[in-house]
């Protein structure tokens, strides 16, 4: 069994709040510097930059877990990861269907662009990606799991856009593969405040919107290799695979 270093919550230039320097090339370069084995690409309500990041990351020997940070109807941010591009596309269709027709104003919110290898803009997303989709958290969870994905409510300790800020507490019957904590807390401190969450799986990530933040905190995963199924087992603590925080 090996130990892998992972930062699983990284925004790219596609997120309106993501810095323009967050191109696939720059993200991978910084991930190499930080000695990350695995990065998660999680733009707001869009998966459209994932492919290009994968192309760059393969060259550098870094594994990408392709995903998204969904804003549910309650404005709870949730990470979702999918194993293949086909499944990712199926989830993209779901996002496109339920993201409201509110047009982005780049001057107010920032640009929402997909960039290619040469860092040329290959697509600009017209709809504002930081809107809430019109599906509630249970519906999003069900769709992610229907597609065999992993569902991880994001930064649940934070006082905005989190499970605890929006819904007061973690619904006991919510089916989540793990829960993410931000850099502002530790598992220990979080459990002091939310003792009923003891025994759940936690991960910690940077939620990087700028290059400097990539890898600033990370999660270690003990697994055989970096395959998606190994990641699933690590979150479940199965067969010797585990999350080490």
């Amino acid at each position: 069994m090996k130990e892998f270093s992972a930062d699983l919550h990284i925004h790219t230039v596609l997120s309106p709040c993501g810095s323009l320097e967050m191109s696939p090339r720059n993200i991978v370069r910084k991930a190499l510097e930080e000695k990350l084995d695995i990065i998660g690409i999680t733009d707001h309500n869009s998966t459209r930059q994932c492919r290009e990041v994968c192309r760059e990351a393969i060259k550098a020997g870094i594994t990408v877990y392709t995903g998204v940070e969904v804003t549910t109807k309650e404005e709870v941010h949730c990470l979702a990861f999918f194993e293949t591009f086909d499944i990712l596309e199926a989830f993209q269709a779901y996002l496109d269907r339920y993201l409201p027709d509110i047009i982005n104003n780049p001057e107010l919110f920032g640009y929402q662009v997909v960039v290619d290898e040469e860092e040329n803009i290959s697509y600009e997303e017209p709809k504002l990606l930081i809107s809430a989709i019109s599906q509630n958290i249970d519906q999003v969870e069900a769709e992610v799991h229907r597609l065999g994905g992993l569902f991880i409510p994001a930064h649940i300790n934070r006082q905005k856009f989190s499970l605890t800020s929006q819904l007061g507490f973690v619904p006991p019957d919510l089916i989540a593969d793990a829960f993410e904590l931000s850099k502002h807390t530790s598992v220990e401190d979080f459990l002091k405040q939310f003792p009923y969450m003891r025994g759940r799986t936690f991960i910690r990530n940077s939620d990087a919107h700028q290059q400097e933040a990539i890898g600033s905190i990370h999660t270690r995963l003990r697994m055989e290799h970096t395959g998606f199924d190994e990641f699933r087992k690590a979150l479940q603590g199965k067969e010797g695979r585990e999350v080490i925080l």
Binding site: E74, N136, D138, Q159, S165, Q166, L167, G168, F169, P171
Partner: protein, 111 residues
């Protein structure tokens, strides 16, 4: 004032939890952040929100609220309505937005 009177005077639909229509109302509280309601709402408050998740009822029960008003024609999720029945905390509906219903409720409670 009882929830029943408020519902009648403001033309609110009783969606669920009708057994609690005689709950006595203290004042109103408006917020869509459940964490905020948990910290700031008081016993006997009527809570105006657009959130339809079942956690709304858990917090209403925890804080001993009199009733919940859902704005803009929103309907509770099925498990929220169920819990409202179980806890006898009425969920009332209005097609009006938060600003309008708050104003009308404020005037009514001030009388």
């Amino acid at each position: 004032m009882k929830v029943r009177e408020i519902a009648e005077k403001l033309g609110l639909t009783v969606i669920s939890g009708a057994a609690g229509l005689d709950n006595e109302i203290n004042k109103g509280y408006s917020s869509d952040l459940l964490s905020d309601v948990m910290g700031s709402a008081g016993s006997g408050d009527i809570w105006i929100t657009l959130q339809t998740h079942k956690n709304v009822m858990a917090i209403a029960s925890l804080k001993d609220l009199a009733a919940v008003i859902l704005v803009k024609g929103f309907n509770p999720d099925p498990d929220m309505a169920e819990q409202s029945d179980e806890e006898s905390i009425p969920v009332l509906g209005t097609s009006e937005d938060t600003f309008t219903i708050n104003g009308r409720l404020y005037n009514l409670l001030k009388q």
